[in-house]
Amino acid sequence: MKHFSISFIVGGGLSVLFLMGALLSFFWTPYDVELLNIKGKFASPGLEHLMGTDHFGRDILSMVMVGTRNAIAVSLIAVGIGATIGVPLGLWAAATCMNGSRLIDELLMRGNDLIFAFPSLLLAILITAVFGPSIINAIIAIGIFNIPVFARISRGAALSIWPKEYISAARVAGKGVSRISYEHILPNILNLLIVQATIQFSIAIIAEASLSYVGLGSQPPNPSLGRMLNEAQTMIFFAPWLAYFPGGVIVALVLGFNLMGDGIRDLLDPKLRQKSITGKVSNDAS
């Protein structure tokens, strides 16, 4: 029987809440995010503006909603890029490693190490230094540093599946290496990949916020949580709410996805589930 852990419920709840808010911002925000209202600048949080207004009189809640939507979109695409390129690479490396030629495996893994040698933020800065700051380049930069993560984890997991008997059976049945990877290995490591994807997603949210904080992410007037924090910094002494809300939203979003990832892992990992049913080991794998 599957029972949902508290972390799954809290995390899932938070994630769904933010996803809904982000989706809602496509159709409706309390105010227009580009609407300047100098007369109403620095309004503190209240009934009219739930999260207050900034130095141009823009409604913070509306900007936070659109900013969250942007952050989620950037992270989803970036993690998507990382998984779509990284997972096949990892499967390929594992397949060649298990079938004679270790050269390709070695090359792929050294390539991975190379990307790991560049701290993610540095890579992003390098890319934006060359191609100019934009939301697309931020996505590419975050995506690139996700590739080795997915490649490594799928290679490792695939290596443990290859010696299984049903793989030998599939080979005897005449299936080729790539078909086995796709039809038998991939479904068996999918759980692991889903859990990793939620973790990477929350890392990507912070990465996006960091990049836009230093001005390398989405460009004005497109609202972004990171840039809102940057602009808030000079005004926190008299308008601290400008820093509280965007930052709080990032924390809640990341926390939500992390907790949900933990919850999904507990649900999907049969080993852990069994242990928790017998009561011997609780969820201490974090």
């Binding site: 190379l114 701290p119 800065i125 890319i127 912070i206 916020a209 990032i250 201490d284």
Partner: protein
Amino acid sequence: MISFLLKKITSLIITLLVSTGVIFILIEVVPGDPVAFMMGLSGSTDAADALRLELGLNVGPWDRYFDWVSGMVNGNFGISYTYRVPVVELIRERALVSVPLTIYALLLSTVIAIPAGLISATRRGSLVDTSFMGFAQLGVAIPNFWFAILLVLFFSTTLKLFSASGFPGWDAGFFICLKALTLPAISLALPQAAILSRVMRSSVLDVMNEDYIRTARAKGLSKKQALFRHGLRNAMIPVLTILGLQFSFLLAGGIIIESVFSLPGLGRLVFQSIIQRDLIVVKSIVTLLVFSVVTITFIVDLLYAAVDPRLREGNS
């Protein structure tokens, strides 16, 4: 042991060479004409030609690459286009802020995380454990630059204990500088400490389930004695890995934290250089940071071998 060392050193050198290649291609080949890029729209043809000659750009990319790498090996990184001083001097000056900051943060993170993880693991399921791990979850989720802003708001604005930004320079005295680096170091260390304490906790828990701990317990050692005499050394292996990785996170995180606190470190220099299109400085700092990450990974690998004799056999 020697073959292990040789193998590691070869792979270190190859990684370094390839990464300089990547940096070179990204910065000098991809943008097309670096001179046009550096001068922006304002440059005249004469000035561009002069700069091209000055930078040694009048030869092909292969020659330029070899000149660059052999220059770096001899400690000559070139001359900054905007500051008109040798890049080495610029970097040395800025590294005097960035490197102490990184070490300070790494120390803080270790000093907080290792005892916290150990206590959590030994009192699993207790209130202490639950609250430590709750804090850890929160710590992972907080972007360090936001935490930095909150720290400034609380310690500088409300309590007036620390100055909000800036760095007085080491001439002003060691403790004054240490104080200036304290808030930046705390904000850098928080997320890392959160991750590290979780790794420490699960690593200790794993070790406590091992056969040799049971043997030690059966021999009559208490749980604590068994852990400290036999378990801790083994539990440190994953912690060491993460610690090595964190060095690179801290270096990169420093880039942002330095701009929050306006510290004159390498991170600020990179940003200014990007804005001023000073590609020589950008190229040098990126190379230097990648070098230090790769070297740290190399040292961690060696430490592994020191902790775990099995890895010395060379067939890891």
